[in-house]
Symmetry: C2
Amino acid sequence: MISHKIVPNISVDCVVFGFDFEKLNVLLVKREMIDEKSGKALISDHTLAGYHIFDDEDLDSAAARILKGLTGLDNIFLEQFGAFGQLDRVSSPKDKMWLEYINQGFADRIVTVGYLALIDNTKVTLTLKDRDVSWFPVSMIAEMEMAFDHKFLFYRALEALQRKVKVEPIAFELLPDYFTLSQLQKLYEALLGTSFDKRNFRKKVAQMHYVIPLKKKQQGVPHKPAQFYLFSREVYEKTRKGRISFII
Amino acid sequence: MISHKIVPNISVDCVVFGFDFEKLNVLLVKREMIDEKSGKALISDHTLAGYHIFDDEDLDSAAARILKGLTGLDNIFLEQFGAFGQLDRVSSPKDKMWLEYINQGFADRIVTVGYLALIDNTKVTLTLKDRDVSWFPVSMIAEMEMAFDHKFLFYRALEALQRKVKVEPIAFELLPDYFTLSQLQKLYEALLGTSFDKRNFRKKVAQMHYVIPLKKKQQGVPHKPAQFYLFSREVYEKTRKGRISFII
């Protein structure tokens, strides 16, 4: 294994969202530090998927590397949602103890660049990975213990995601290639924390010309099999050209 | 003067936009290095308004400090548009020569956080400042020599601005408190690089309930004095609440 030189005071943190057809989830990494004598956990909480950048890679590559390591996936949707450099990012006694414990030469002053990542849950099998990484429902985060300022970063990412899905077709990154309209509705409901009337929702989707019905239908379902749809970026790009709207 | 310790490898760069009722402008700082013997300019180009962060300030404070220094203004609209950490950000011989010349201990590897700033041109008098700072029409930038990757950053900021004005009422930051509908139209035309039919434009504005007509009119103009309007953030916040739209 080649060892890379890290940049001690610049990191990236990825807030990885996934959708399991019922709820929105986020990928977190367990952080644990056990007291050798008592066997008691001195630290047991969660972090976002992040690390320092190497001196031979740019920010995007660092984020992609970290996600590849955790999920085995390339070509994940990744977008910055902000850089964070508050003076007290790493100030709790727990966080200081942790940094001393892992002792990897990180600086006191760390600026992190937050990345929003969107994954189709069905494409990733986390159980194969050696790190203790798991999906948590977004609704659980408020109650959880998180390292550093990662809970704050999580909520900034969630806000960015909610803002973006209203103006860009990025929600489709969370769905498999083929999806039903019920799955699409559940996704938008999970993302926006609201519920839509089924008929109204379908009327709106009918206006999204880039959501294209297929001949393919669901198989082996206990109910009447639903039709599959796909998202066409090509059609989206073509049809959005003329739409300069400033009614904000 | 208190001297601050800089963080050598983290900077902020501000892309400051202003509107002069005719065109969109950007604030640039002249960079010059003169050969002492020949008196010839070895370097003569422009940079964005930026500097390294101090170790006792966060990113937002650093950006605000830099803008205060250049314009004398507090409370400028400031928003990040991205962090940039490409390996070749500071790789041209000119840029390396410049960093050696000013010799302020900057690192080789500099990650910069880009800030988009919007200023009402009428509020700032740059001629009072001691640094060589001036407004340049956005249309001129393509032809200009710029330092580091600042031309690239400028275009990323312009893209972010054009994206944002379609979904948020930030264009009003570029106007004085009172403005006419012609001024508003000129602003949107300058921002989006398009032209609107006057009647259609006014129909759209009529739907923006947060653009409020005043009894006040222009004075001392050679044409029929136009009515003034103001932007009400309060009305905007109140009326956008219900509008969850996902027709993207």
